[in-house]
């Protein structure tokens, strides 16, 4: 009965609720953001340490993300170029070769068929290997007729395997060479880096949240007297929490900026050797992914992690403050 009466009365309390004007709301946010920034710059050495910790925590998973993205790009490039080489027996008949060409052209996976007769193959071999003099000693051309098949971009490893099996069963075919080992390795490496990035990302995100939470907790302790008085004069939990949320966001943003600086330096150091490595495998790839959306994503992630850490610290500590 008593509880019902209290609930009924609490709907129309005899003291007015705070009616904040929108202008006051913006003014208070602006003031809290400014004061938080000022607090952070006044305690610059501590803030730098926090930024460094968050920056390292963000740089490693962000770097792995970039690596994974570049491997995926390389994978796509090689997927597009990969092909099959079909070698016929030396005594294969023109009909058997023609049947092989037809089989290739009928396949939806084959983008282009290049039929290389033994004489052409011999000329290419001589020009590549520089063995012209040695080959002149041979009475007969030892090279067979072959087909070079270029596959469409969407063909994957399973498609490639299936196509190879069809050629292996065809008459007059001696050998089918699928250039897939690199693809398999690259795909496995991409998956590994992706999962490693995810795992490290989660672990380091937790680390960044905890670092922010600990720093915000220290900031709360430093302003305990002020918070007590604010609570005494009727500050709402949101009002008390707000400056510390700005702390968290600023710590997170600063950490993210540092992470991007570390990554930029790492890319400057690694880009040259990496591009040369890719070129040695026939690629003309450039480092991908360090673009405005990536930069914005890292900054946003840093701010969100900082905000979450600040929420975590302020929720538990501010509720427990004894006013006087």
């Amino acid at each position: 009965m008593g509880a019902n009466r209290t609930v009924a009365r609490s709907r129309a309390l005899p003291w007015p609720r705070a009616s904040r004007s929108p202008f006051a709301w913006w003014r208070d946010h602006w003031r809290d953001a400014r004061e938080s920034l000022s607090f952070i710059t006044e305690h610059l050495s501590t803030s730098l340490l926090v930024w460094l910790l968050i920056g390292i925590a963000l740089a490693l998973p962000a770097g792995l993300y970039l690596l994974q993205r570049n491997l995926a790009v390389a994978d796509d490039e090689w997927q597009g170029r990969v092909g099959l080489s079909v070698y016929f027996t030396l005594d294969a008949t023109p009909e058997q070769i023609e049947a092989g060409v037809r089989l290739a052209r009928e396949s939806r996976l084959v983008a282009d068929v290049n039929s290389i007769d033994p004489a052409t193959a011999l000329r290419e071999f001589e020009s590549f290997a520089g063995l012209a003099n040695a080959l002149e000693l041979l009475d007969d051309n030892p090279l067979p007729h072959s087909l070079k098949l270029s596959l469409v971009g969407f063909a994957d490893l399973l498609d490639l395997q299936e196509l190879a099996e069809r050629f292996e069963g065809a008459a007059g075919v001696d050998l089918v060479v699928v250039e897939k080992h690199w693809l398999e390795r690259l795909a496995a490496l991409t998956t590994l880096v992706k999962r490693l990035g995810l795992l490290i990302g989660v672990l380091f995100a937790v680390g960044a949240v905890l670092v922010t939470a600990a720093s915000v907790r220290l900031a709360i302790e430093a302003r305990l007297d002020e918070l007590r008085v604010q609570k005494l004069v009727g500050a709402s939990p949101a009002f008390l929490r707000r400056p510390f949320l700005y702390f968290g966001i600023l710590y997170g943003l600063g950490g993210a900026l540092l992470a991007l600086m570390v990554l930029s330096l790492a890319l400057v150091a690694l880009e040259g050797p990496l591009v040369r490595l890719l070129e040695s495998y026939g690629g003309d790839l450039k480092v991908a992914g360090f673009d405005p959306s990536f930069l914005a994503g890292v900054l946003l992630l840093g701010a969100l992690l900082g905000l979450f850490g600040a929420l975590l610290a302020s929720r538990s500590r501010l509720d427990a403050i004894e006013i006087v």
């Binding site: 609490s10 003291w15 604010q230 009727g234 006087v324």
Partner: protein, 239 residues
């Protein structure tokens, strides 16, 4: 607005000590009341319960007919903005100017800057510190600091003003000045409750006196103004 009623209120702490035991009193709106008693009598607990800094172990505390002891936690900030509180050690923010300290309750309430400035200056003028608005509290005397605390307590125009040993650190002359300020607020309709152990000062003012001893209501003496009322002089004793 501003009426208070304690009905059978007890506060027992974890160590089994009763800070208040079954206290029942009614304080009409617009009155001035002194809480007195020795240290540990329960004066501060009375005020803390009224401010809802603590919840009672038992009983009801009605303010304007609402049992504030049963208010949910989220309703307390709005309730506290309805009260003003002054403490012996002022609780001023050392790194903020006098103006900012006094403006704090208005900031918390989200008041517009222009209106807030008008109210802060009016409150500072009332306590005679308008010319010190840009000063830091550390540059003020103890009496001035207390007056800043009073200005902060009244800037929101509360209907109830609570003071816990507000003259504890002041000499007799300053104490009388502070009490005169409280009387001024009472005269404009504010319910004023002052906890003090300074019997001489209290007796001189002729207001109602509630005396507590070890958490129990010992005496409830009507003030001069109350005695003049048709049913004045009634004493209440805890059941």
């Amino acid at each position: 607005m501003g009426s208070i009623e304690f009905r059978g209120v007890s506060k027992r702490y974890g160590n089994g000590m009763d800070a208040l035991a079954d206290v029942s009193v009614r304080i009409p709106a617009g009155s001035m009341t002194f809480l007195t008693g020795h240290s540990g009598a329960g004066k501060s607990t009375f005020l803390r319960l009224l401010l809802q800094l603590e919840r009672p172990s038992q009983g009801a505390i009605e303010v304007n007919g609402v049992d504030v002891a049963r208010l949910p936690e989220r309703a307390l900030p709005d309730y506290r903005r309805h009260l003003g509180a002054v403490f012996q050690d002022h609780h001023l923010l050392a790194n903020r100017t006098v103006y900012d300290n006094v403006a704090l309750p208005l900031r918390v309430g989200g008041m517009r800057e222009r209106e807030a400035a008008r109210r802060v200056r009016a409150a500072l003028s009332r306590v005679g510190l308008l010319e010190k608005e840009r000063t830091l509290p550390s540059a003020l005397s103890t009496g001035e600091q207390q007056r800043v605390g009073i200005a902060r307590a009244v800037v929101n125009r509360p209907k109830i003003l609570l003071a816990d040993e507000p003259t504890g650190n002041l000499d007799p002359e300053l104490s009388r000045d502070i009490m005169a300020l409280f009387q001024q607020f009472q005269q404009v309709g504010t319910t004023v409750i002052v906890a003090s152990h300074d019997r001489e000062l209290i007796n001189a003012l002729g207001s109602r006196i509630i005396e507590l001893s070890r958490g129990h209501l010992l005496r409830d003496l009507a003030g001069v103004a109350d005695l003049a009322a048709p049913n004045g002089g009634e004493s209440h004793r805890g059941a």
